[in-house]
């Protein structure tokens, strides 16, 4: 635990420096500085998301092979897992990025907690009279969440954003999703009545809200990307030529699949040939 706290020191310094930079150079209020800081953190984490999407796209290509492996070893789950892992490694794909996907954000969150907790003593005296309010309804972002009614409003928004971001998490099982849906409410209770008289500054909620909204936005964008990529068109047409021949089926497929009907010109030629051969 002490080791963990000591690595937070440098992160705290970086966060403090960044907040001060946003405040003095860009002239943002402290609350907006936290928002800006959150966005910078998430932008830095984008490469990880990109990697994961690429991995998922490639996985779609290998789906038949993976299904075959699952079928071959369906009696032996251990062997099945082993073979799947071997297959993943061979093709450099993997559904998981690490054992704990949220790890990169944990140190930042803890460091920010300490920075905001000591804000009044360590940062504010250097900038006397600077604005601590936000959006004309939060009086003081360093105050405890329960100090003002606006804190409860933000807490509600936070819970909503957390629930929303759950829908974009790459979790498989339904049970986990349900746990993730309930987690923010437990957090909320914990935040309202923290053990040991700890205080949670409003600024932390701003960080969590922003990061969740980013997750939602990123999820919407990448969901679009994922929907476009599955099943390369060449494979598709070769598997279902008879279906596409009938126009009403092709139309129905366009409606429910929502996929751009992009049969390349060479394929169309092929199909016509087939039709001709049959007649």
């Amino acid at each position: 635990m002490i080791g963990f706290l000591s690595i937070l020191g440098p992160i705290e310094d970086v966060l403090t420096w960044a907040l001060e930079w946003f405040h003095t150079t860009l002239g943002l209020s402290w609350a907006w500085s936290i928002v800006a800081l959150t966005i910078v953190v998430r932008v830095l984490l984008v490469p990880l998301t990109v990697r994961q999407i690429h991995s998922m796209q490639r996985m779609q290509q290998y789906l038949p092979e993976m299904k075959a492996i699952q079928k071959r070893y369906k009696t032996d789950r251990r062997k099945q897992n082993e073979e799947l892992m071997k297959f993943y490694k061979e093709h450099q794909i993997n559904p998981a990025s690490s054992c704990l996907p949220i790890i990169p954000q944990i140190p930042i969150f803890f460091a920010l907690y300490f920075v905001l907790r000591d804000f009044d003593d360590e940062i504010y005296p250097e900038y006397p009279g600077s604005e601590l309010d936000w959006l004309n309804f939060v009086p003081d972002i360093t105050a405890n969440i329960t100090a003002d009614w606006s804190g409860y409003v933000l807490l509600a928004v936070y819970v909503a954003s957390q629930v929303a971001s759950t829908w974009f998490m790459p979790t498989q099982s339904r049970g986990q999703r349900i746990i993730f849906l309930f987690l923010p409410f437990i957090f909320a209770i914990f935040i309202l009545d923290p053990p040991g008289g700890t205080t949670f500054p409003v600024g932390l909620l701003i960080y969590w809200m922003t990061t969740n909204l980013w997750t939602v936005g990123q999820g919407i964008v990448t969901r679009g990307l994922r929907a476009k990529t599955p099943a390369p068109p060449a494979k598709r047409s070769s598997r279902t030529p008879s279906k596409v021949e009938r126009p009403e089926d092709a139309a129905a497929e366009d409606v429910d699949g929502g996929q751009p009907p992009k049969p390349g010109p060479p394929r169309r030629v092929k199909r016509k040939k087939k039709r001709g051969a049959r007649r």
Binding site: L48, R51, Q52, N81, E82, L84, M85, K86, Y88, K89, Q92, N94, P95, A96, S97, S98, C99, L100, P101, P170, T171, Q172, S173, Q176, I179, F180, L183
Partner: protein
Amino acid sequence: MKYVGIAGVYAYRYTFGALFPATCKYHPSCSQYALDALRRYGLVRGTILAGWRLLRCNPWSHGGVDYAENQRLFR
């Protein structure tokens, strides 16, 4: 002594472990690897092995099959 570590892993499994998706990029999973390493190599070396495995389980590695008994740290 090593049972302290094993108990710790089980405590993790039934608390936080239940919250996160059970998708490790390695086989066996990190917690199973920790259990194997602790049973086989004892508390100190087992903990080091498990810690090293957790660090390897990052977005820049490719995962794969990786059993505790095939480790190369302690020979």
